[in-house]
């Protein structure tokens, strides 16, 4: 091989260069010789090669022509060499083309049976196929069409069937793909990057006419390939689809068929071949289209849900291609192809989606333009729409069945097709929906598909507590995390739900909002079975109508006019009507808790409504009892439904409420700021549900509150409530007067208080008065209901006005540490002692006065307070006034027969004390008034109440210690210490179960509180001794650990009060070390605990001594 890289460009030199090798090859056909030739060929430049083409091809062809079996290797080498030549040159003579074509085909087929591929190596087949491909590409435009003359039919047919057989049966994917590519090239529809001949219409007609003969065989074989083995890889499938689309597109092309087929005069010498020639007449077309539609159906169903996106993309291409070129002649297939296209609109792969959108846009434009151009074809767009709406209708009909029977994948596809239709129809949806049959079908389908599974038991059982409300109030994310997933009967995949939702939104976006809301509201009212689904659909329709969550490409049939039909006013009117229905008495006040808890509510029924003179009221008309609906027992006074309400019904009610709450959130999103005026009516309802006991409902309500506040431009729930408190309070105040009808009013107030801040207080003031008045009017029935309001109120007040209650807690700490660190200075002690004594005797008082000069500031403060006049009391801040009022009620309620209520009241009382603690002047009289009742709770009540009362006492002790001292030491301590003493031996002997008893809890509570109570109250020595006496047994290590710990805390507090005496007491019990007097003059100390052996008390005593005195 010459080392020169430059190619030979002189034909003569090239000829001389190639001649020896060619001659050798002709003489001796061997692989080596072929390789020499092909090696040399690479040194010849293209133009020169073209001139020598015939010459160099000859020896190669000669090799092939030699009769007898040939080695695979040789043929392969020849094919490769020929490919090189053909790839770089053109074939200008028909002879060459024809001969080469048949020779290559011969290489492929088996020598015995020309119809079947030869049993040769894959490499060989690949090489030959490549060569064939190169040949077809190299053929000149004027000769290539000769291939399609009728005379060629048999040869062509053989080649096609051969290639199809290779494409279908071959194991190697590469060979399959190459064969299919070859086939594509053969019908001049190749899509590779090389330059191709563009056939004119006449030429296309000629090719098409010839190919028509092979179409049935070709399409069936191709269909087999496409629908064949799924494992064959996407490349083959894609190629096959390409062949199919180009072949069908070629044969069935509308343009070819439109102009009447020139009557072909077949030369008589064709003989039998005439039978092969097909005349593309009307009836042929019809039957072909019919057969094709069968194939298409198979192919589409196989490819549209194919796992590989390229296949799906190819499917779109196919549909687009065929719809574009032969929509008229394909007849029945159009619907199928359209469906396939529509189904791909929502493909998960964006490339497929985009392509599909383009295709659909083209389809619709084509239809539009054709209908515009030719008056005769006016019906074209009509038919297209008809096809679409027909398909939609039939799909809607079969949807419920499909949703019940097929798997999730299939369901998703079906729904995607459904959505695709809607998108393609676009604004025409409103036209389609005007047909009652369509609307009915679609809505029924949605109703059935969206049926909820309401059997989950735990939904009913979950209860919300105020604590959860508070935690969730901090952020919206928190809430959304809690929202429960809906369970549907017919599907589980979240994707399916989102497609369904998008279907609804698209309906809302393009449809007539009045028609839709009316229709679905009818369904909502019609039957309990449809109610929840209808609400879901309505919610999404409204969102869609506002353009939320709708992908709005301008494809579809609308052309340039945009299809969004709903304006703000219409939307608002629709929203108002839906919301009115949602929040109407029947649909809003549903039972969500089972009967036992319902009993409380039934109590309220006893409150007879104050019947006054007859006055019309619009609300009354709403109470038309729907027999299917569970009516809250508070309405129908003795409705049997409450007793029959099963878990199923309760769940259903809960979900309905959740959906409706979500709906209100959707509406606010849809209307944005325009929703603000609607807050007047809706916010109260939502808050009502936010206070609901059922966790799911209250969380849904909170969630929708967040959405509403975002939609209306409030940064948080607090602002939402504060800014609209006038609306809320109005309803609360009205409903408080009609508690029997509106027992939720206190709940709303509770929610308001929980989420708001002190800026609400001035507004709430008069409502609180209303509450208290309503409470005063009927303690018996409403106490339980109002107690929770009072609790929420006091909790809110305690939060808004953090008072000294907490401050004192903090202030006690430094005191303790200071005493800890105080180092006893004997000298200073004696000096102080002397000074005290002198003072007591009246010496040095004047000096002292001057010392205390820095005291006056507080005096001035008092002056300021007295400036208002001696008799006029300074007006109390309103929160303190409210607290006083509440405390007043607590005094009455403390002796309520219901234990539950008493406990709650004690909680309220504690909060009252906390809030009032900032004004001692107010607290003390109140404390005095509630003392007797509290004492009763402390001394003669259920252990639980005692526990709670003790906590109140401790809180009281922290704030008004002096005031309580005498009372506690006289009335409380003796009882407490005696009970402690009494219980000590029992708890010491008890087992682990004891810690679950009330007695244990009582002991624990008493011990935990006693220390700080003693310290706060600054009790006298005798009392301290009594306490100490009572507590000592609990230092025993036989007591439950927590009791020991609590007892230790008592002693820690006691040591703060009087370190010395308790040091002594402890050492009496157990003394770890001997004390040597600091001076020999002093007597040695003898403590009774000294030298005692380790006993049950030693550990705790040592611990205390170490902690407090070292």
């Amino acid at each position: 091989m010459p080392p020169t890289m430059a190619q030979i460009s002189d034909p003569k030199i090239a000829f001389a260069y190639l001649r020896p090798a060619c001659v050798l090859l002709t003489r001796e056909p061997s692989v080596a010789n072929v390789e020499t030739v092909s090696g040399q060929l690479k040194d010849i430049n293209d133009a020169t090669l073209q001139q020598l083409q015939e010459y160099v091809l000859f020896p190669l062809r000669f090799v092939l022509k030699v009769p007898g079996p040939k080695k695979d290797k040789l043929v392969q080498a020849v094919a490769e060499a020929m490919s090189h030549i053909l790839e770089n040159t053109c074939v200008q003579s028909w002879e060459t083309l024809h001969n080469l074509f048949s020779e290559l085909c011969l290489c492929l087929c088996s020598p015995t049976d020309p119809g079947k591929p030869a049993d040769t190596s894959e490499e060989l087949k690949l090489a030959v196929l490549r060569c064939l491909d190169a040949l077809l590409h190299a053929a000149y435009g004027d000769i290539v069409f000769k291939l399609f003359e009728p005379i060629m039919l048999p040869g062509l047919g053989a080649a096609i069937s051969l290639l199809l057989a290779l494409g279908e049966k071959e194991k190697s994917r590469e060979v399959q793909a190459a064969a299919l590519k070859c086939l594509q090239a053969l019908i001049l529809q190749c899509d590779c990057t090389q330059v191709h001949i563009v056939p004119s219409l006449e030429e296309r007609r000629a090719i098409g006419s010839t190919m028509a003969s092979f179409l049935p065989g070709l399409t069936t074989a191709i269909a087999r390939i496409i629908t064949g083995d799924l494992r064959q890889g996407h490349a083959v499938t894609v190629k096959a689809m390409k062949v199919l689309s180009s072949a069908v597109g070629l044969v069935m092309e509308d343009v070819q068929l439109q102009a009447s087929e020139p009557c072909k005069t077949l030369s008589p010498n064709l003989g039998k071949i005439t039978q092969l020639v097909v005349q593309r007449k009307q009836d042929w077309l019809k039957s072909t289209a019919g057969k094709l539609s069968v194939l298409m159906k198979k192919i589409i169903s196989c490819t549209s849900a194919h796992r590989h996106w390229r296949v799906r993309l190819e499917m779109v291409e196919l549909a687009d291609h065929l719809l574009a070129r032969c929509s008229r002649s394909l007849g029945e297939c159009v619907g199928l192809l359209l469906e396939a296209l529509v189904g791909a609109v929502n493909d998960e792969e964006p490339r497929v989606r985009e392509r599909c959108e383009v295709a659909l846009r083209e389809v619709s434009q084509r239809n539009q333009s054709s209908s515009g151009d030719i008056p005769g074809e006016r019906s074209s767009i009509q038919t297209f729409t008809d096809v679409l709406s027909e398909n939609l209708h039939s799909l809607a009909t079969s949807l419920p069945r499909l949703m019940r029977t097929s798997d999730d994948q299939k369901k998703l596809f079906v729904l995607n097709v459904f959505l695709g239709y809607l998108k393609v129809l676009g604004p025409l949806i409103s036209v389609v929906l005007n047909s009652a049959a369509h609307l009915e079908r679609i809505s029924k389908a949605l109703m059935q598909v969206l049926e909820l599974d309401v059997m989950d038991v735990c939904i009913v059982e979950e209860r919300s507590h105020s604590s959860t409300i508070e935690t969730t109030s901090t952020s919206s994310d928190c809430c959304s995390a809690h929202t429960q997933r809906k369970h549907f009967l017919y599907f589980t995949d979240e994707k399916i739900l989102s497609v369904l939702m998008e279907i609804c939104r698209t309906l809302g976006y393009y449809g007539n909002i009045y028609l839709l809301t009316d229709h679905f509201l009818d369904l909502y009212r019609q039957s309990l079975a449809y109610r929840k689904q209808a609400a879901i659909v309505l919610n999404e329709i409204v969102r869609g109508a506002a353009g939320i969550g709708v992908v709005t490409e301008s494809h579809g049939l609308e052309g340039e006019g945009h299809g969004h039909s709903t304006n703000k006013d219409d939307l608002k009117a629709a929203v108002m009507s839906v919301m009115e229905e949602y929040t109407s008495l029947n649909n809003w006040h549903l039972i969500t808790v089972s009967e036992e808890t319902n009993k409380d509510r039934q109590d309220q029924q006893l409150l007879s409504p104050p019947r006054l003179l007859s006055i019309s009221n619009s609300d009354i008309s709403n109470i038309n009892v729907n027999s299917l609906q569970v009516i809250p027992s508070t309405l129908g006074s003795n409705s049997p439904s409450s007793s029959t309400s099963t878990i199923h019904q309760l769940n259903s009610n809960i979900w309905q409420l959740c959906i409706q709450l979500e709906g209100i959130a959707c509406f606010s999103q849809a209307l944005g700021r325009d929703f603000c005026p609607l807050l007047m009516t809706s916010l109260y309802s939502v808050l009502e549900k936010a206070g609901e006991e059922t966790l799911l409902v209250s969380q849904a309500a909170l969630g929708s509150m967040w959405v509403i506040s975002k939609a209306c431009g409030y940064p948080s729930l607090k602002e939402l409530i504060n800014e609209n408190s006038d609306y809320l309070l109005n309803d609360i105040s009205l409903n408080l007067q009609r508690l029997n009808q509106h027992p939720q009013a206190p709940r709303v107030l509770t929610v308001m208080l929980t989420h708001s801040d002190c800026s609400l207080l001035p507004l709430v003031g008069d409502i609180v008065q209303d509450v208290l008045m309503a409470l005063d009017l009927s303690y018996d029935h409403t106490a339980a209901l109002f107690c929770s309001v009072l609790h929420a109120l006091m909790k809110a007040l305690a939060r808004w006005f953090p008072s000294s209650c907490n401050k004192t807690n903090e202030s006690t700490r430094p005191q303790q540490t200071s005493t800890d660190q105080e180092v006893l200075d004997i000298r200073q002690f004696l000096l102080d002692y002397r000074k005290q004594k002198e003072l007591a005797q009246g010496i040095g008082i004047e000096e002292d006065d001057t010392d205390n000069l820095d005291v006056p500031p507080p005096m001035e403060c008092e002056d300021v307070e007295h400036n208002d006049g001696p008799n006029v009391k300074a007006e109390l801040p309103s929160h303190l006034n409210i607290t006083k009022d509440v405390m007043e009620r607590c005094i009455h309620l403390l002796s309520d027969p219901s234990l539950r209520l008493r406990l709650k009241v004690l909680d309220v009382l504690e909060l009252c004390v906390c809030v009032l603690s900032e004004k001692e002047n107010e607290l003390l009289p109140m404390a005095h008034r509630c003392w007797p009742a509290l004492l009763q709770r402390l001394t003669a009540d259920d252990p639980l109440a005692v526990l709670r009362a003790f906590r109140v006492l401790c809180t009281l002790g922290e704030t008004c210690g002096d005031f309580l001292r005498r009372r506690v030491s006289k009335e409380v301590l003796p009882k407490l210490s005696s009970s402690l003493v009494r219980q000590a031996p029992i708890s010491a002997k008890s087992g682990p179960v004891y810690t679950h008893t009330v007695a244990y809890k009582l002991q624990l509570a008493v011990l935990q509180g006693l220390g700080s109570l003693c310290q706060r109250l600054d009790l006298g020595e005798a009392d301290l001794d009594a306490v100490c006496e009572a507590c000592l047994p609990y230092l025993s290590c036989r007591q439950p650990t927590r009791l020991q710990e609590a007892c230790l805390s008592v002693f820690r507090h006691l040591i703060q009060v009087d370190p010395d005496s308790f040091w002594f007491t402890l050492n009496e019990l157990h003394c770890p070390s001997t004390y040597t007097p600091p001076h020999p003059d002093l007597l040695p100390i003898k403590l009774s605990g000294m030298g005692r052996p380790r006993d049950e008390y030693s550990d705790n005593v040592l611990k205390l001594l170490k902690e407090e005195f070292d």
Binding site: R611, L612, I615, S616, S618, I620, N730, L734
Partner: protein
């Protein structure tokens, strides 16, 4: 059939003081308004669509506002305060400043009364400086028209009502030709006048501290008739100019209706007895079908105006009701009743208005 007592359709809160007076302005414009005057000296302009105070104006230096009214259009407001001033307000284009004021020098609680005398002109009656004195001036010129003082001692003026016979259809038989004018163009113009006794001179009804009612002829400045309607001071009165029938309330348990006969004589009719004593305000609906009373017993009572049949007791306020007003909304179905109370709230009621068109 007895239906449960209605609740207010809404309550307006946040006025910051007892609500002495209410006045609706629902004609024209798209937002119906309600004016309220409170004991804290503020005049609230409530938007009845959003149910929130649209504007709050203060012009009586913190003294209690006892009367508000609007002049023809809702853009001009007139208010009376206990600072002895009557203020005129211009509310056009979002303004809210007083444009004029009249010094009444009356220390009492008597509310003014306003009468449209001719387009753009108003007569304003108010209690004067002297105990029994009533002054009438013309607005906006502020020219005094007359001062009415009774001969006998009747005590303070408690309430007044200025009104005029409205003859919607003039009886042609009562017309007398008074003059003929011949214009230069040759056209004739006949001028008629009606009989003097049916003449539309403004009249004034006044209730006094001793319980007397007096009817004054403003143009003649003379007392037309007098009746002792109550043993206690007359707290309020209202008058139906179509039926020539009025009613007054006092601190007792009675409402006293009375008629004007053809000779303008006051004739007392049978009393209506109430459950609890004390009425602070009375109001007749424009269509002459309903009468509402604001009771000291925290209740608003509604009567049929023709026969004074009690129809409803509206209970909402926890304190004295001080004022009532019916809205003048064009659509009878949207007509409201408003009640202002000492508890600083205004309650709005939608009652007896659904069948307004068929009676």
């Amino acid at each position: 059939m007895s239906r449960p007592a209605p609740s207010p359709i809404y309550t307006l809160r946040g006025s910051g003081g007892p609500l002495n007076t209410l006045h609706f302005s629902c004609l024209g414009g798209d937002t119906p308004l309600l004016f309220s005057g409170s004991g804290s000296g503020a005049i609230h302009i409530w938007n009845l669509n959003s149910r929130r105070a649209e504007k709050i104006v203060e012009g009586h230096s913190g003294s209690s506002v006892i009367w508000v009214n609007s002049l023809q259009s809702k853009d001009a407001l007139i208010s009376q305060g206990r600072d002895m001033q009557v203020c005129l307000w211009d509310l056009r284009e979002g303004r809210s400043e007083p444009v004029d004021s009249v010094w009444t020098s009356s220390v009492g609680f008597c509310q003014c009364s306003l009468l449209d005398s001719s387009p753009g002109n108003y007569l304003l009656a108010f209690a004067g400086e002297q105990t029994e004195e009533i002054k009438i001036i013309e607005l906006p010129s502020k020219t005094p028209v007359c001062t009415l003082v009774p001969d006998t001692k009747l005590g303070m003026v408690m309430c007044i009502k200025l009104w005029q016979h409205i003859d919607t259809d003039i009886d042609p038989h009562q017309l007398k030709l008074s003059n003929v004018v011949v214009f230069p163009s040759g056209r004739l113009r006949l001028l008629f006048h009606t009989e003097p006794d049916s003449g539309p001179g403004p009249l004034l009804l006044a209730g006094y501290e001793d319980g007397s009612l007096l009817l004054w002829d403003v143009t003649q400045r003379s007392k037309l008739s007098q009746a002792k309607a109550h043993p206690e001071p007359v707290m309020c009165l209202t008058f139906d100019t179509k039926r020539l029938r009025g009613i007054s309330g006092s601190s007792e348990k009675k409402l006293t209706p009375w008629m004007l006969d053809g000779q303008n004589n006051l004739q007392l009719q049978d009393c209506v007895t109430l459950v609890n004593p004390g009425v602070s305000d009375l109001c007749i609906r424009d269509d002459g079908k309903l009468l509402a009373s604001a009771g000291w017993d925290h209740r608003v009572r509604v009567f049929g105006w023709k026969k004074l049949r009690p129809l409803a007791v509206l209970q909402y306020h926890p304190d004295m009701v001080l004022s009532v007003a019916f809205s003048n909304h064009q659509d009878p179905r949207q007509r409201l009743l408003a009640a202002g109370s000492k508890d600083q709230r205004i309650s709005l009621w939608s009652i007896y208005n659904e069948g307004a068109d068929n009676g």
